[in-house]
């Protein structure tokens, strides 16, 4: 089993609903976020393009945050989801530095926090909160080992990219272009 998410940049309007839904679902304190929006504008008026991306932890197969964690708090669970065990985290911040996607933040309670792919929902067969709330339905989630999963189907039928492929992390967050 390998969980992955695909973000349809052709449909995302950058509304930030994924960010708020994550906040309320996961009790992310005000002022912090586990997912965020990137708006990339290219060109000059009137020849312009915008790419809108809802970003979060890439749940990398080869995760630098896990490799560099001195206590083993950062770890990979079934389905390839990268998690942080709060009680084992000493808040040293090495993982924050090592992440090429800027996906982690120091939680005010002293540990490092980030997207869990809503593992508490996923283990019950539900989607992450951001996927279920998105008004444009631009987020696709599922098991890459299942060819009939939503994410497998869109990755098969659409062009896609990943971020910072040169980092060699083998990320599991895909962007449909």
């Amino acid at each position: 089993m390998r969980y992955a998410m695909a973000v349809d940049t052709k449909k995302c309007v950058g509304c930030g609903d994924c960010v708020v839904a994550c906040q309320t679902e996961n009790n992310v304190p005000h002022g912090y976020c586990r997912d965020w929006i990137v708006e990339n504008v290219t060109g000059t008026y009137p020849k312009l393009e915008i790419e809108l991306r809802s970003e979060r932890c890439n749940h990398c197969e080869n995760a630098p945050c896990v490799r560099c964690c001195p206590t083993g708090a950062s770890h990979i669970v079934e389905g390839g989801i990268v998690l942080v065990t709060h009680d084992e985290c000493i808040g040293c911040g090495a993982c924050i530095e090592s992440c090429p996607y800027d996906a982690r933040y120091p939680h005010p309670e002293g540990y490092v926090d980030k997207c869990t792919f809503c593992v508490h929902r996923v283990k019950d067969g539900e989607n992450p909160a951001c996927v279920d709330v998105c008004p444009t339905s631009c987020l696709h989630f599922g098991d890459l080992d299942d060819p009939n999963s939503d994410v497998s189907k869109v990755l098969k039928n659409r062009k896609w990219k990943v971020l910072a492929p040169e980092a060699g992390t083998n990320p599991q967050l895909y962007f449909l272009t």
């Binding site: 052709k10 449909k11 309007v13 950058g14 509304c15 930030g16 609903d17 960010v19 708020v20 839904a21 906040q23 309320t24 679902e25 996961n26 009790n27 304190p29 005000h30 002022g31 912090y32 976020c33 965020w36 929006i37 990137v38 708006e39 990339n40 504008v41 290219t42 060109g43 000059t44 008026y45 009137p46 312009l48 393009e49 915008i50 809108l52 709060h86 924050i96 530095e97 800027d102 933040y105 939680h107 005010p108 309670e109 809503c118 508490h120 929902r121 019950d124 279920d132 709330v133 998105c134 008004p135 444009t136 339905s137 631009c138």
Partner: protein, 752 residues
């Protein structure tokens, strides 16, 4: 290390990477409290209890459920999958509605304005009894001395219905909402003149099934009208062609096959040139036009010279692009939708622009057709028994000469202001206002006039959940609880299928706040109008109404949303050219409007040149951001996290000319010398034309009680001091204001 806690990161190749939004901040008291409770892990839905509601953060009113944990804390709000407004997917504002409930700056108790011996004024906390007695006393005095017609109600939102009922029972017809004269009014009047029916809310636009969607300045995706955003996304999936006309590269423009970067204030020329191409290339729906329309010959003659080349000189849009886009529309016809927009009070000839849009849709045969405009149905809930309303003897219209605004279908909010300012022709001006759920300082243009009208009032009562700017001007403030803490009227709105939705409380009202129905009923009792509120709790009203349509409060508490069958099978009522008589003078779709002709207006829309900015000035355009609703959400912590201030969008060429850097704070000054109260951040971006600037509406709050929102960003409403009145329906055109830049904090020159 890169900047981390940005909720929104904006990068641009043209001006170098820039990050806007939210910077790392230390955790504040709210977070501290939160953590002290030990609630740092998500809770599974099984441990939560949910209560049906429908959202009140905007007018789309999506139905969903409020989830409450065992301690009684509201944890989240999730859409109801059975609701066609949201399809189970709330927008960021609906999801962030919890922030409205938890906002530490909420109004907590009734407040009464007091004046000290030295003349300074302040608000004193009061009991409900004292505050309600005072309001009732003032209303009674007004009724006895001047007549009940001297009372007006400004209202926005579901709870306003309770106060509308109260004011009608009191005997006044002056009930208004800014949603007409400051928003969709021109569209409703224009479509009614053309088709005998208006566009309604939610709009009867079949975006879901369209093959070609044309947006005239409508920025779907930034205006987060949930159902429309969802349907546009579906249309993208289906491969629909999107054509967006906007001087700004909007999010919708970035999703479009064609973006027409039009010169502001020239849309009518483009619309008429499109009509020209459709007619003279014989691309229009001939059978439809022949069967249903009146005045085609006149229209054909009217647009004869309005070629794409003619329009090019006005709009700066390449004539070939005008032809090509017209042909795209025709190729999709009748499965095409030239969207009527929603906020359409721009330049003062807005009814005529909306007429041109209505005419284009008729030429394309899209009204009453799949992928165009459908025929919505709604459930008609019987009215709860109550005595007949008294017949008012006067109205706000007395402030105008007889016959003016004959086509106005709702009360003009600006008309209420006019009727409040005394003049020789008016035997009695309005003397009391109740303002419910609308921050008039931001929702009305020309703040000077609003303030003048307020200065003539005997009393101003404001009912709100938050200390908005208008609250500062009130004599009495009545704090309502949020929509998550109260019952309200059943939502019944027109859609493809008729649906109803229930709002019920998920928590007790915080502080000393009360539901709107209770406030209205208590006032009514004190005014001797108790018969009009013949119930103990609002649940009785809802249950009575629901039982009349075959449901019950008990059932709705379980399901939240209920679907009914359509009475008539006529969703696409003109699909097969069925016979139909339109509710117009000729019984036809009036391309040539006999109604406008009778009233002395142009029966066919004409392009008129609008004033342009002088040297060093730029047209002020404004719009919406998806995470905020007007000015009402700026202090909501969840949404403030996403966007805490607006910025002024400036084209890089202009920024270079002024030596303004991206991210620099500047002040804006308009053509009347009005300067923004606070500095606003420059967003130097290729997404805006060089002749205009852009602000997201609803920022620059002046009430310090809004501790997060106060002082952040610029108020566009403050800068809209020049109003271009639509002579047909009294709409306030607000896009004819021009601003220049000040790089230093100015001395106070003109203070409104």
């Amino acid at each position: 290390m890169k900047t981390r806690r940005d909720f929104i990161k904006i990068t641009s190749a043209g001006v170098g990477a820039a990050a806007l939004g939210f910077h790392a901040l230390s955790w504040d008291s709210a977070a501290a409290q939160f953590i002290a409770n030990g609630d740092t892990s998500p809770v599974s839905d099984e441990e939560l209890t949910n209560y049906p509601t429908f959202c009140e953060v905007c007018f789309w009113k999506c139905a969903g459920f409020t989830y409450v944990d065992k301690k009684g804390n509201i944890r989240k709000i999730i859409g109801n999958k059975d609701d066609p407004h949201s399809n189970g997917r709330f927008c960021p504002r609906g999801t962030g509605g919890v922030g409205m409930y938890y906002d530490e700056d909420r109004l907590q108790t009734p407040l009464i304005r007091e004046t000290k011996a030295d003349g300074t004024q302040y608000f004193r906390k009061a009991s409900w009894d004292e505050a309600l007695n005072l309001v009732a006393e003032k209303m009674n005095k007004l009724r006895l001395e001047h007549g009940p017609e001297c009372l007006a109600l400004f209202s926005h939102g579901t709870g306003g219905k309770h106060f509308g009922h109260l004011v009608k029972a009191f005997g006044s017809p002056n009930i208004t909402a800014p949603s007409f004269a400051q928003c969709r009014g021109p569209r409703e009047v224009a479509f009614t003149a053309t088709y005998g029916e208006d566009v309604m809310s939610p709009e009867r636009t079949d975006i879901r099934d369209t093959k070609c969607l044309v947006l005239i300045g409508s920025h779907i995706g930034e205006n987060m009208h949930n159902g429309q955003v969802q349907e546009m996304s579906e249309a993208i999936d289906h491969g629909a062609t999107i054509i967006t006309v906007d001087p700004r590269f909007s999010t919708a423009a970035s999703k479009s096959k064609y973006w027409l970067p039009i010169k502001p204030a020239t849309d009518i020329a483009l619309l008429l040139a499109w009509a020209h191409v459709l007619i003279y290339e014989e691309l229009y729906d001939k059978a439809y036009v022949e069967k249903y329309t009146f005045g085609f010959k006149e229209l054909k003659e009217h647009v004869k010279t309005m070629t794409p080349e003619w329009a090019y000189g006005i709009t700066t849009i390449d004539p070939n692009v005008i032809r090509e886009t017209a042909r795209e529309m025709a190729a999709a016809s009748p499965t095409v939708l030239v969207h009527p927009g929603r906020h359409v009070t721009w330049y003062g000839d807005d009814t005529q622009r909306s007429r041109a849009i209505a005419i284009l849709n008729a030429l394309l045969g899209s009204w009453g057709r799949r992928g165009g405009f459908y025929n919505p149905e709604k459930v008609h809930l019987p009215k709860y028994p109550s005595p007949a309303y008294p017949k008012p003897k006067r109205s706000w219209k007395d402030a105008y000469p007889p016959g003016k605004y004959n086509l106005v279908s709702e009360v003009l909010s600006t008309g209420i202001c006019d009727a409040t300012i005394p003049n020789a022709d008016l035997d009695c001006h309005l003397r009391g206002w109740i303002v419910y759920g609308t921050n008039l300082m931001a929702s009305l243009p020309d703040q000077k006039k609003t303030l003048e009208a307020i200065s003539h009032l005997d009393f101003l009562v404001v009912i709100d959940t938050m200390p908005m700017d208008i609250v500062r001007l009130a004599d009495v403030v009545l704090p309502e609880c949020t929509y998550l803490e109260r019952y309200d009227p059943i939502r019944t709105s027109p859609h493809r299928e008729p649906y109803i939705a229930l709002r019920m409380p998920a928590a007790e009202p915080k502080h000393e706040t009360k539901p709107g129905w209770w406030i209205a009923k208590e006032l009514a009792t004190r005014l001797g109008l108790g018969d009009y509120f013949n119930y103990n709790t609002y649940e009785e009203v809802i249950d009575w109404q629901l039982k009349k349509v075959g449901s019950s409060l008990e059932e709705m508490k379980r399901i939240g949303v209920k679907k009914f069958n359509r009475e008539f099978n006529d969703l696409y009522f003109l699909q097969d050219l069925d016979d139909f008589e339109f509710n117009t003078n000729t019984g036809k779709i009036e391309l040539y409007s006999t109604e406008l002709e009778i009233e002395g207006y142009d029966p066919l829309p004409k392009y008129t040149h609008h004033e342009e900015p002088g040297e060093g000035f730029y047209r002020l355009n404004y719009g919406r951001a998806p995470m905020h609703t007007f000015s009402r959400t700026s202090n909501n912590h969840n949404l403030w996290d996403l966007m805490k201030e607006n910025s002024v969008w400036i084209n890089p060429k202009i920024a270079k000319l002024w030596d303004i850097e991206n991210g620099q704070y500047i002040w804006l000054k308009n053509q009347d010398g009005i300067v923004t109260d606070f500095p606003v951040k420059a967003r130097v971006t290729e997404r805006i034309r060089w002749d205009s600037v852009y602000l997201v509406h609803g920022f620059g709050h002046t009430n310090k009680k809004l501790r997060r929102a106060y002082g952040h960003g610029a108020s566009d409403s403050n800068l809209v001091s020049k109003v271009h009145m639509d002579p047909i329906m009294g709409g306030t055109g607000m896009r004819g204001n021009f601003v220049t830049f000040l790089k230093e904090k100015p001395e106070k020159e003109v203070k409104v």
